[in-house]
Amino acid sequence: MSDDWRSYTARIEELAARSGLIFHPVDFEAVPDTFMMEIAVYGLPVRMPHWSFGVRYIYQLIQRHMGHSRLFEVVFPGNPGHAYLAASNGLAENILVTAHVLGHADFSRNNLLFRRCQEQVSEHIVEHAAAHARQISQAIETYGAERVEQVLDAALALEQHIDVDQSLRREKYPEYLADPKPLVDDDFRKRFAALDPTAAAAAQEVRKRAPVPPHPERDLLWFIAHYAPELESWERDIFLAVREESFYFYPVFATQIMNEGWASYWHARLLREADFVPQQAYVDAIKCHSDVVRPIAADQQVALSINPYHLGFSMWEKIIESQGLPAARRIMEQDDDFGFVRNHLTRELADELKMFRYNARADGQVKVMEMELTALQESILAPKYGFGAPTVAAKHIQVDGTLELLHDHETDGRGLDLDRSRKVLDYVQRVWRRPVELHTVDQNGSALHLTSS
């Protein structure tokens, strides 16, 4: 690939800054397609080894051979941010991608959810993940691949089960219940104490141990890391490493529509305003833009999913057109996809984008339903709740050390897939080293009790 595009980087950055984007510097690097594919598989440029990534890698390879899914860029937030561009990109694509990346850089620097997670995880996630990978390679050398894999099987299976409302580095539960209120020194007390001084004093001394967990705990990675009966410290480190990466992934996941939309809006706008881009490159770039930012199905066809790039892009265009840029920036800073879609996806826009709700039955029938805005919004957001995972919490540790997990089927609307759940329990049991149980419901809604084998 030629380095032509690099001569435009500085000018695009300058234009972006003039247009009101506020971003940390970004390191651009052109990398081979194979490496782009690996970033897509691992989610990070250097990440811990695990066979499940190998499975994703095979699927990605197959997809690529079938001509689907081409990756132009991947960007990692931070100070500086890191952007990887596919070496096979042409000049026009790279100009577009540079602008797109700056949109992301603006978003990740200013969006509150991103900022909060970066404050906790640090602004150097790429380096952290590489350090985790190194740390795990060392563990493999010391303890053997089998044992490390066993820990990763469990930790990565629970990858989504974190609690982002708590801080990344949270304290363990208090060991004792809060002291009972000091007894009021009234006449009765005085006379009682006079009867038997030792008894009165003893009553004050007793402190009660707090139950563990004091409340159902959603952050399973954290809970197991700190309360598993015989976890070794290197195993705890692996759990915490996976958890830290999940904290990093969460905002990427929870703002996908906004974030991709924002970057797409800005690449389109910066490109329009960039008078220094040659005519041909501009035309090529616009074509590339419309290939990416469009509904999944062409013209008269129908798709049963929504392209987040297209939805986000259209929403931002509407918002900036009707409310102006300062208001749009405020929304960008404060919302995540839940607030964004609920507050700003209007009925008119949904109609304009030809969005619809559908009902899919297990027998394969798919039927279009009446348009109802709130329900449409919820259909879009439903897969995003709780990091896209069922609500499972640690409920109780029994006297013999058995861990009881509780699936909140009322929140999720139905029970868990039993075969998979059992396998997960098996993974967990190997690190918990005591039996693990799970409460959920079967298809009729009656209580069901699963145990690890």
């Binding site: 598989v41 190998g54 129908v302 929504i306 009902n359 394969g364 798919v366 298809q443």
Partner: protein, 378 residues
């Protein structure tokens, strides 16, 4: 950063590394079920030196909600309320837990070399290596012997040549690169070698009482016995004999297709084996093995004759083994045939018996015979 930097990621693929680990796991899983898998295919003949096993990709499990009866979603495109975008499919029903549907099922076809499998298994099961009995006869063969400065290019010994070069270079005033003087070629010579031959007789009871499953079990067992013996003997011949109240010799493919009717008279089979030994093999020169698989229900009137015939075969053989394949019942060798072999063992012959009830037992059986045989050899 310059484009010319050779980056580590061009030299190393983490995706491929983890993919290999996945394959390794799949292979482990397959390995655990090998006797069963191998029993399903006709792989016992010489030409099939590999076994192909179709496998699904492994899934790393997560908590997931069960597949709902109905689900709402959001789509985009030209569609009005009430439109039916997809009709119910009949197959759609009853397809429960097919899990793979959303990921686009990918099947891998793993190929295993039979030799590798045998090596793994012998290692894993810690099976002993047999000591081959050396026959008195000799045969001539080419063996490597010594080096020369001239020879065919295909026999160039690179390692040796390199050593020569290093030696010469360490002398003062030597030229730095290879010269023709450094090259060494391996030499071959004809030498006499003791013969190490083995003949394995597989005798199978195909009477009416042997079910398909029984025969498959026997086949699976036979297969691994051949493989194990092949590790020890450079040339191994196999002879297949089936019997009911009569006995026949079969070619291998036919052998496993045979199913007969009627009663069981073991002596017919044993006499057939003895006949073949007398005709074709000299017990002094070849190591003869007999493995007999039956459900054990030998005809009561055949008792004495079978005892005689068995003893005649055992005289010539290094080892006779009996597997009782009786899926379903667990009489543990308390059968007519079982007793015959027990007597043989007590009489001091190299003989062993094993009750094979399930695929899980195949390895137990193989281990049993090999351990016993190895001990007898010592």
């Amino acid at each position: 950063m310059s484009e010319n930097d050779s980056k580590w990621y061009e030299l190393f693929s983490r995706g491929a590394r983890d993919w290999l680990r996945h394959d390794e796991k799949v292979r482990d899983a397959v390995r655990a079920n090998l006797p069963e898998i191998v029993a399903g295919a006709d792989v016992i003949n010489d030409s099939a030196r590999t076994v192909r096993v179709p496998v699904r990709m492994l899934e790393h499990y997560h908590f997931r909600l069960r597949r709902p009866q109905e689900q709402e979603g959001a789509g985009q495109g030209a569609a009005k309320p009430g439109d039916v975008l997809a009709k119910p499919t009949r197959e759609g029903k009853g397809e429960k837990g097919a899990g793979g549907r959303d990921e686009g099922e990918v099947q891998l076809l793993l190929e295993f070399k039979v030799d590798d499998i045998v090596d793994w298994l012998w290692e894993e099961m810690q099976l002993p290596n047999l000591k081959a009995r050396v026959g008195p006869s000799e045969e001539t063969d080419w063996v490597r012997e010594g080096w020369d400065k001239r020879g065919a290019r295909s026999r160039l010994d690179r390692r040796r040549s390199l050593k020569e070069m290093v030696k010469r270079r360490s002398a003062p005033g030597a030229t730095p690169t290879f010269t023709d003087e450094d090259l060494r070629y391996r030499q071959l010579a004809r030498r006499k070698q003791p013969a190490i031959h083995a003949v394995v007789f597989f005798m199978l009871d195909v009477s009416g009482s042997m079910s398909d499953r029984d025969r498959k079990l026997a086949k699976s067992f036979f297969f691994w016995v051949v493989q194990g013996l092949r590790r020890e003997y450079r040339s191994l011949e196999t002879v297949f004999v089936a019997h009911t109240t009569e006995a026949w010799e079969f070619s291998e493919p036919e052998f496993f297709q045979v199913s007969g009717t009627g009663g069981t008279v073991a002596s017919t089979g044993l006499n057939k084996v003895r006949e073949i030994i007398d005709e074709r093999y000299n017990p002094g020169r070849a190591n003869i093995y007999l493995f007999y698989a039956s459900d054990g229900d030998n005809s009561a009137s055949d008792g004495d004759e079978a005892r005689e015939a068995l003893k005649a075969v055992a005289d010539a053989a290094c080892y006779t083994g009996y597997v009782e394949v009786s899926s379903g019942s667990s009489r543990e060798l308390a059968t007519e045939t079982g007793r015959l072999f027990a007597e043989l063992d007590e009489a001091g012959f190299a003989a062993g018996s094993y009750a094979l009830n399930d695929y899980d037992d195949v390895w137990g059986a193989v281990r049993h015979f090999f351990t016993a045989e190895a001990q007898k050899n010592e």
